[in-house]
């Protein structure tokens, strides 16, 4: 956990379809929705499986490894909840077919390239909820 200073990060919105994702993150797991009937995996979460329409959703832990699809540093207007302009990225998980909106933490824009390997970590929001974030694989502090 990266928790040197008090976080100002906003909490994710709570919805009945998506709360379990953040509950998993609170337990230190990056989990993706897998259909309990046909096994299809989908992100973002949805109330039923779009392949077979089963409502049986199984939160399934991922390895936490992936690659950067794209990235940018959002500087102006300053996003709410950050002291410094955050790096917002799309990360493709190594399991395939799953892409996440996330932050790359403890990295400068200059260090980043498309397809760079990254590993998951978790950061707290102001109220103590957990958000999956990523850091460059192989950098000090990376798992």
């Amino acid at each position: 956990m990266n928790q040197q200073r008090q976080s100002k990060r906003l909490d994710p919105m709570s919805t009945r379809n998506t709360d379990w994702f953040w509950d998993e993150a609170a337990e230190g797991r990056l989990s993706i929705q897998k259909c309990g009937n046909c096994g299809a995996m989908h992100h973002p979460p949805r109330p039923i499986c779009p392949e077979c329409h089963s409502a049986e959703r199984v939160p399934t832990p991922m390895s936490g490894r992936g690659t950067i699809y794209s990235f940018m540093r959002v500087s102006y207007p300053p996003p709410i909840g950050f002291d410094e302009p955050p790096i917002v990225a799309l990360v493709d998980l190594e399991e395939g077919g799953i892409r996440l909106i996330t932050n790359i933490v403890d990295a400068t824009l200059e260090e980043l390239v498309n397809d760079a390997p990254v590993v998951v970590d978790f950061e707290k929001t102001a109220s103590g909820k957990s958000l999956p974030v990523f850091r460059l694989a192989g950098k000090a502090g990376a798992a």
Partner: protein, 387 residues
């Protein structure tokens, strides 16, 4: 059998001034825009029997009817996808007229998005009162993806890396659009052209993709369009333009500003589908288009549409721009009012008023002998023709 969807027309256009502070209510803006459109067409409020607007327009139907004295609506619809759906409004108005559900349909969009609220600024809560499962609302906000410009930029970084283009390349597009705005008295940026240096000195919004001058500026104002049959339009006062073809597309898993979850977000499937359908409906192709009006809330959106419509190949849009193709004497004059970046951000509908002016021959930056005009908003597209 005649396809009645190709037998409709814009019979009148109306708008307010575009500003940073309209000084009046959004409802008043709608009224002013619709009254101007009625006057242009030679119709009265009592002739209106159908209305179309955006789901996110704040004005309600009953209040609008009370203000204008509209007697009875036979058809009323609101369309999703924000500005991406702006061309869909015309598609639906045509569907109403072609089916006989209504005879005179008014389309409007009006907002005080600069003076009353800031449409493009960071948000910690969803717009509107309801929390839904939209990508941006749930998955973007906690990570700092909190305003539309950042959403547009995120996927585009990969395009830039893949094709070796930079923000300065986008600058050439913006400089041309601001040059158009500079000679358009209706534009917010009338008399204010910029240089490539100005563009490159404007502050980063999302480095390395988007600078301030790549973004439309929030504007107060309203626009209204009147759609009726060609046959009826011929008998009216205003010089109508034919709606030669219209199309819409909302593909699986694709949101307009955050199309991140498809296999290849560099393919904007909604626009590819709209392009194919609108060319098919109108019976023309990219080479036939005299003026293109492409929804440009942010400059990367123009790149995506130029390629999706086949005006150039994948990765070639910014070379196309730099070749001079989008200037008034080029092969495809583009966003000749200055676009949403240069004229005003009235959520796409002010591109339609420009299209009508081009076909009437009264645009500030007039393409000589313009006969076919394309308007695309991503989730929809329309081809207008001189009639």
């Amino acid at each position: 059998m005649t396809n009645l969807m190709t037998q409709c027309a814009i019979a009148g256009i109306g708008q307010t001034e575009f500003s940073t502070d309209s000084g009046r209510s959004e409802l008043r803006l709608v009224c002013d825009a619709i009254l101007a459109a009625l006057d242009d067409a030679g119709l009265t409020a009592k002739d209106i029997d159908g209305i179309v607007t955006y789901t996110i327009d704040n004005n309600d139907e009953v209040s609008l009817m009370r203000a204008l004295g509209i007697e009875d609506l036979k058809y009323s619809v609101r369309l999703p996808m924000g500005g991406g759906g702006s061309a869909m409004t015309i598609h639906h108005a045509c569907a109403a007229v072609a089916s006989g559900a209504a005879s005179t349909v008014v389309i409007w969009r009006a907002m005080n998005e600069r003076s009353e609220y800031r449409f493009g600024q960071p948000n910690s809560t969803p717009k509107g009162s309801r929390i839904n499962d939209m990508t941006y609302t749930i998955w973007g906000i906690p990570y700092g993806l909190q305003f539309p410009g950042a959403c547009s930029a995120l996927g585009f970084q990969r395009y830039m890396a893949k094709y070796g283009v930079t923000n300065a390349d986008l600058g050439h597009l913006v400089v041309q659009q601001r040059a158009y705005a500079a000679t358009n008295p209706l534009a917010r940026f009338y008399g204010k052209p910029i240089t490539l240096d100005d563009h490159q000195n404007s502050k980063w919004i999302a480095d390395p993709v988007l600078r301030l001058f790549d973004c439309c500026q929030e504007s107060d104002g309203g626009v209204a369009l009147l759609v009726t049959s060609r046959e009826r339009a011929r008998d009216l006062k205003g010089e109508h333009v034919r709606i030669l073809g219209s199309a819409a597309s909302i593909p699986y898993n694709v949101e307009p500003l955050t199309p991140y979850y498809t296999d290849d977000p560099m393919v904007t499937q909604q626009t590819v589908n709209s392009a194919r359908r609108v060319f098919e409906a109108a019976g023309v192709g990219p080479k036939d288009i005299d003026v293109a009006l492409l929804y440009d809330a942010f400059s990367p959106e123009v790149v995506r549409q130029l390629e999706a419509f086949g005006f150039c190949g994948p990765g070639e849009a910014l070379d196309f721009v730099k070749s001079g193709a989008i200037a008034l004497d080029g092969e495809l004059p583009l966003n000749t009012n200055g676009g949403l970046i240069g004229e005003a951000y009235i959520h796409g509908l002010n591109m339609v008023t420009e299209g009508v002016r081009q076909l009437r021959g009264v645009a500030s930056n007039q393409r000589k002998d313009a006969e076919l005009v394309l308007f695309s908003s991503g989730n929809g597209a329309v081809i207008f023709a001189k009639d």
